[in-house]
Symmetry: C2
Subunit: 382 residues, 2 copies
């Protein structure tokens, strides 16, 4: 730009202080810490949403998402909204009004899925379990065979409980009855293996601000060839125009015809976050998270505390720690935030006051940072 | 953060070049150029979406939006999606399935409004006019009195045509029959006066990337006390959970209870963009745009060209120029992009090939930049 004199001559703001966010160690369930390269990308000059350069950026992002999701022939794209927008896109595009929709309901985000499906007119059947529990292969198979739904949804990594639900049996059973499978991968993508193809997922949605270590604002999605075929054959429009995946896929992948004005800077950031991951290698990244998780659990148990989720079902990047008797968890969190600037989260719903939710992901997933956290956490508990 | 050795030791990416967006002069209908302070804000470290600091940032944004919209007692908030998400939020929250919805249809964005309302089950009546025309007070009044709808929508500044529709008569007539009025202010907010209160608008939505000179990604909204009252009294939930304004208003303004993970960095950017505007003064900014518009029109007419929209109905920030006979407008645009790096847009729908859409807004709205553009445009036409 040549000049911006009219703006430069303006007096300084007096009512609102200059933006100066406090230094935080984001050990919550998300958002997670962001790599400096990603912040740098965020501040690069924007181009138009139909500019050949931006089309290339979108293409790069789609390509870089494939190894993170673990898909080779699935379609990847990005929704211009947060993870919850991805969830709503999955529901509104793949669950038609009146269609039978089976939900594995063991935490807050399956309740949110249910609520969205209800608003979309679905005929919902739920397999309820207490928050934090998971489903065995036989339980999953029996439920799906009994209900014979058109679509099935489960939460791969349940942020409200810390439980990881394997999807293989769900997907196999669903495909036997001709149902599509939606997997909520908001907390897993980039931090723990999603294995989209190997698991047999048809539709996965995620976010940018957890395992991908990018600021929040976008929702990456993957769709199997079966899902894409189903979508193409669907004759009724989805109830949402903004989240219409036919239109978004056409804009982002096929014709590049205008749908909406994509958040250019956020796409820059996501591309960079995915490159940071590619540099490290996604397997190395998973392994780093696993290592830190083990170290974290060891430290927590050495403090006499225990994890809420049984060992084989834990999310490596998001630990849920039981609040010890006599401890006010809100006070502990306030102490950590006001003192060392550490953010962690509490439980909510049936787990309110009962658990801490502590994320160890992205740039914070190092042995040093785990020890730093444990030391501060111990102090805050006493 | 203490260390991020595991990431820092990783090898450099080889497959994907470093992000290096080309230098563009964004003279299209949006996105517009972004002030350096806004890029700086974008790259500040994020905090959590429930962090007291972020709650303060959201509050600042809401306060700073009020003078831009021209409202004192309206509620302002920000949707975590682009302008189209704001449009869908307006429709899905304020037009119930089965309700009569009157649309002033004179361009592409009223068609989009219609499509969204259709998907939401509304009973739509349209007052059709050729693209680029506007409605007189009497026409507006007659239509609304005849149809007696529950909600009315018009596009204040129609990006596809360059026409500005005054809202006073529409709002007065709508209120007489007890209808709420939705105004699409995507292209007007921050560039030309919206006058929310004075006009009598009930629901206005906009975007960040046009008159506010911020990157795309968020949609600021304003709602009148009447709209808020109606919303509170609504007993059926809106079809969209992600865009549910009751929940979003509660998260952003009332209880700050978690709804979704707001795009922290984009809120930082929007706060800064609004401060840049506050520094200049919103009236000064409108006046600067008016001045540049006049200068632009003078230059265009001196070149023997003419504007598509008659003088009293033009949007000061978005000029639509008739493509002269014998000129291939796509070639002109390509020439401008490939040469000086100037982005402008063409027409679409019934105006495809017939107009150029040229934005002069934000940092580019200076006399120097207008002359720079005119010089390059003239070269590209020959």
């Amino acid at each position: 730009m040549r000049t911006m004199s009219a703006i430069d001559q303006a007096p300084a703001a007096i009512q609102f202080p200059t933006l100066a966010p406090p230094r935080r160690y984001l050990f919550g369930p998300g958002p997670s810490m962001v790599h400096p390269h990603v912040y740098e990308a965020l501040s690069k000059p924007i181009v138009g949403h139909l500019d050949p350069y931006f089309i290339q950026v979108m293409g790069d992002v789609q390509q870089l998402l494939k190894p993170a999701f673990g898909t080779s022939d699935g379609a990847t794209l990005v929704i211009s909204g947060t993870g919850s927008a991805g969830m709503e896109a999955a529901v509104t595009n793949f669950v038609e009004p009146g269609a039978k929709f089976a939900v594995f309901a063991n935490g807050y985000f399956s309740d949110r899925l249910t609520e969205m499906a209800k608003r979309n007119g679905a005929n919902i059947v739920r397999f309820e379990k207490p928050w934090g529990e998971t489903y065995t292969d036989d339980e999953a198979k029996d439920f799906i065979q009994r209900e014979r739904p058109k679509a099935v949804a489960y939460v791969h990594a349940e942020t409200s409980t810390g439980a990881l639900q394997p999807g293989h049996a769900i997907c196999a059973a669903a495909h036997e009855v001709g149902a599509l499978v939606i997997a909520d991968c908001v907390t897993s993508l980039g931090g723990v293996p999603v294995e989209f193809d190997r698991t047999g997922i048809d539709i996965a949605y995620s976010c940018t601000q957890k395992g991908l270590s990018c600021p929040p604002g976008l929702s990456p999605m993957a769709m199997s060839p079966r899902a894409m075929e189903w979508l193409r054959a669907r004759t009724t429009p989805s109830r949402s125009w903004y989240l219409d995946l036919k239109l978004i896929h056409d804009y982002s992948t096929v014709s590049h015809r205008y749908h909406h004005t994509a958040p250019i800077s956020m796409f820059y950031a996501l591309r960079e976050a995915l490159l940071v991951i590619a540099d490290e290698g996604i397997e190395n990244r998973w392994e780093r998270h696993r290592r830190c998780h083990k170290s974290f659990v060891k430290g927590i148990e050495a403090m006499g505390l225990s994890l809420f989720v049984p060992e084989p079902h834990r999310i490596a990047t998001l630990n849920t720690v039981r609040v010890p008797d006599g401890i006010d968890e809100a006070k502990v969190r306030k102490h950590l935030l006001d003192g060392p600037g550490i953010e962690i989260a509490g439980g909510f719903g049936p787990l309110a006051g009962k658990i801490f939710r502590i994320g160890v992901m992205g740039p914070l997933a190092t042995e040093d940072n785990v020890q730093f956290f444990l030391t501060e956490f111990k102090k805050a508990l006493h």
